[in-house]
């Protein structure tokens, strides 16, 4: 097993990346519309997970209000579309900008807060967004019922009521997301995030502008969640304040941690566990949450570092014994 994994690592990454993309393109073809929608939803939450991973995984900041930015993106798209007749795909940049702007405005004054205090402010912000939408501020958000009748994306004259096109649209954005996130992870900024996560004081002493770096994590993560919100609005065409529920944020948070903080494949595994499987087990609905909770507890006890953690996090938690990279024979 260990040998196989080592050998797999030596395969040219480009090759298996292209293979995975091909698999993702072909996967929905033999499936019915329901399963295509499930796949689409999975992809959506993978993107949400990846965006939250920037904040929680890379920068190590507690964010339990991520759904608020998802909702803000969806509402931005919906409002532009419904009141100004902007085609849905053209609202995407606006959704990103609005969500990122709110990410900036809300986190700017609270960045000095430590871990759990930051966490509660993000929860509070998520609830404020939900309640403002429910209470229909300015009379344009449709109150508790939300907004309906949003246009689907119009592109190439395709029939966008078919989930498959949404799936492919999502897939394009997912590939872009993964590309960006991976580049970010290995960039100067990415290394700064991890430095801040591991030891903020040391990072500051080494000349990392911690405030700026943390702020960037929030802005980028929030903005990207806004984009996902707009994509959601484009398929479902009905959005409600429930998008900003605390429960939604909790699920996104679990996706990141369950899969393994800071790890891109981990987000896939986490989404599978938190979104796809529960969705497929919908017939069991009464006891589904109990099983999900049971799985979460068991998983954390058995693998506190997550199912598919980044190497760095695993080493940190399990100590240096488990190095699985091919290392030159050391002196014993």
């Amino acid at each position: 097993m260990e040998n196989l994994l080592t050998r797999l690592r030596q395969v040219n990454p480009l090759r298996w990346q292209l293979g995975l993309i091909a698999l993702a393109v072909l996967l929905p073809l033999p499936l019915g519309n329901y399963y295509r929608s499930v796949l689409w939803r999975t992809g959506l939450y993978i993107m949400l997970g990846l965006s939250l991973n920037i904040i929680v995984g890379y920068a190590g900041l507690f964010q339990l209000g991520h759904a608020a930015f998802y909702a803000l993106g969806a509402y931005t798209a919906a409002l532009l579309n419904l009141y100004l007749d902007v085609p849905l795909l053209l609202t995407l940049p606006a959704s990103i900008i609005v969500a990122a702007l709110f990410g900036y405005l809300i986190t700017r004054p609270i960045l000095h807060l430590q871990g759990d205090y930051l966490c509660i402010v993000t929860i509070a912000f998520g609830e404020v967004v939900r309640l403002v939408l429910v209470n229909n501020l300015f009379g344009i958000t449709g109150g508790a019922n939300g907004l309906s009748g949003i246009d689907r994306p119009a592109l190439f004259g395709l029939d966008w009521r078919q989930p498959i096109y949404h799936y492919y649209l999502m897939l394009i954005f997912l590939v872009i997301t993964i590309f960006i996130v991976q580049r970010l992870e290995h960039s100067r900024l990415g290394r700064a995030w991890m430095y801040v996560r591991e030891d903020e004081v040391a990072a500051e002493a080494m000349g990392v502008d911690t405030t700026r770096v943390k702020l960037l994590a929030f802005v980028l993560g929030s903005g990207w969640a806004g984009l996902v919100g707009a994509l959601y609005a484009g398929k479902i065409t009905v959005i409600s304040p429930d998008m900003s529920k605390f429960m939604e944020s909790v699920i996104m948070f679990c996706i990141v941690v369950l899969g393994g903080t800071g790890s891109i494949p981990g987000i896939f595994v986490g989404t599978l566990g938190m979104i796809t499987l529960p969705e497929l087990f919908r017939p069991l609905k009464a006891w589904r949450d109990a099983w999900l909770g049971f799985a979460m507890v068991t998983m954390m006890i058995l693998r506190p570092e997550g199912l598919w953690p980044s190497r760095r996090v695993r080493l940190e938690m399990r100590g240096a014994k488990e190095v699985s990279l091919p290392t030159p024979a050391m002196d014993d």
Partner: protein
């Protein structure tokens, strides 16, 4: 006089928040863990109290208000046992696993507890038996009135909080608790059984939460399974507002949150009361980053 009336109502709600916030804050003190399952333990107090009262009133129909006392004790013990069990099974194995894993575990426990309640009791609103709580109101001059139930609730809450404060400040166990909240390893060197202290915290916190659940349900008369999340979140906010890990802070935070909420609902708009509470929380944290009574945390160097 409306103001005094609002203040009394606010204090009552605040007392509930304080009782639940104590559970959050004590667990945070010793484990540095936000115990997200605490709200659901609290909700289980309400459900178990309902079952207990129904059973007891069926056996002894003439028991009246006296039925509450034995039921409270049973509820407290049961919820405390569940609390200890949760700690043993879901938190203890994760004590050295960083900050994120225990949070997920706590959320998992919350899912389980909520799902159990919904499946066993159903999703509909539950009503407590009527006619067992004291009724009547006392006029306070002007239009303000305080109900006997409010007096009882406030008296019990303050009694519990006072007792807890003395317990933590004056007894050996309480001193050990404060030591554990500072440093596990050094406490162990000083001969403190850290596991036992943590278990005691998980007796007191959820025990108080269970009682609070029952009192809240008695006060409002009805509740459903969302009580854990909604009320629990508020109580958690109260704990943070006062400075988490700090017992008087939780009491103060709960009272302030209760008063802000009722005043906001009375003078501005009931729809916006939660928004007002959250915004005030954020403002407090901007100026006092560790809550009202929280100590400044020294930066790790």
């Amino acid at each position: 006089m409306q103001f005094i009336q609002q203040l009394i109502n606010g204090l009552t709600i605040g007392a509930f928040y304080s009782l639940v916030a104590l559970g959050y804050t004590m667990v945070y003190g010793v484990l540095k863990l936000i115990n997200f399952s605490h709200g659901d333990l609290f909700m289980w107090g309400a459900y178990l109290g309902l079952t207990g009262l129904n059973v007891l009133l069926a056996l002894l129909p003439q028991a009246g208000a006296w039925a509450i006392l034995p039921v409270v004790i049973i509820v407290m013990t049961t919820v405390a046992l569940v609390g200890v069990l949760v700690e043993r099974v879901a938190y203890r194995p994760l004590r050295t696993a960083g900050r994120l894993a225990p949070v997920i575990s706590a959320l998992g426990v919350a899912f389980i507890l909520e799902s159990l309640a919904r499946n066993i009791y159903g999703a509909s609103w539950k009503t407590y038996p009527t006619g067992i709580t004291p009724t009547g109101r006392i006029a306070l001059g002007g239009d303000a009135r305080v109900s006997v139930m409010q007096i009882v609730v406030l008296a019990i809450s303050f009694l519990i909080m006072g007792a807890l404060y003395l317990f933590v400040q004056r007894t050996r166990t309480g001193t050990a608790m404060r030591a554990v909240s500072l440093d596990h390893d050094i406490s162990r060197l000083m001969g403190i059984d850290v596991d036992r202290i943590i278990a005691i915290v998980f007796v007191i916190g959820p025990g108080l939460g269970g009682v609070a659940g029952m009192i809240v349900a008695l006060y409002y008369g009805s509740f459903d399974f969302t009580l854990g999340w909604t009320f629990g979140l508020k109580a958690f906010i109260a704990a943070i507002m006062g400075g988490i890990g700090n017992i008087p802070g939780a009491m103060l935070g709960g009272m302030i949150l209760g008063i802000i909420e009722t005043l906001g609902a009375g003078y501005i708009s009931p729809q916006w009361k939660d928004v007002i509470a959250y915004v005030i929380l954020i403002i407090i944290l901007i100026f006092r980053p560790t809550g009202l009574l929280g100590e400044r945390m020294a930066e790790k160097l």
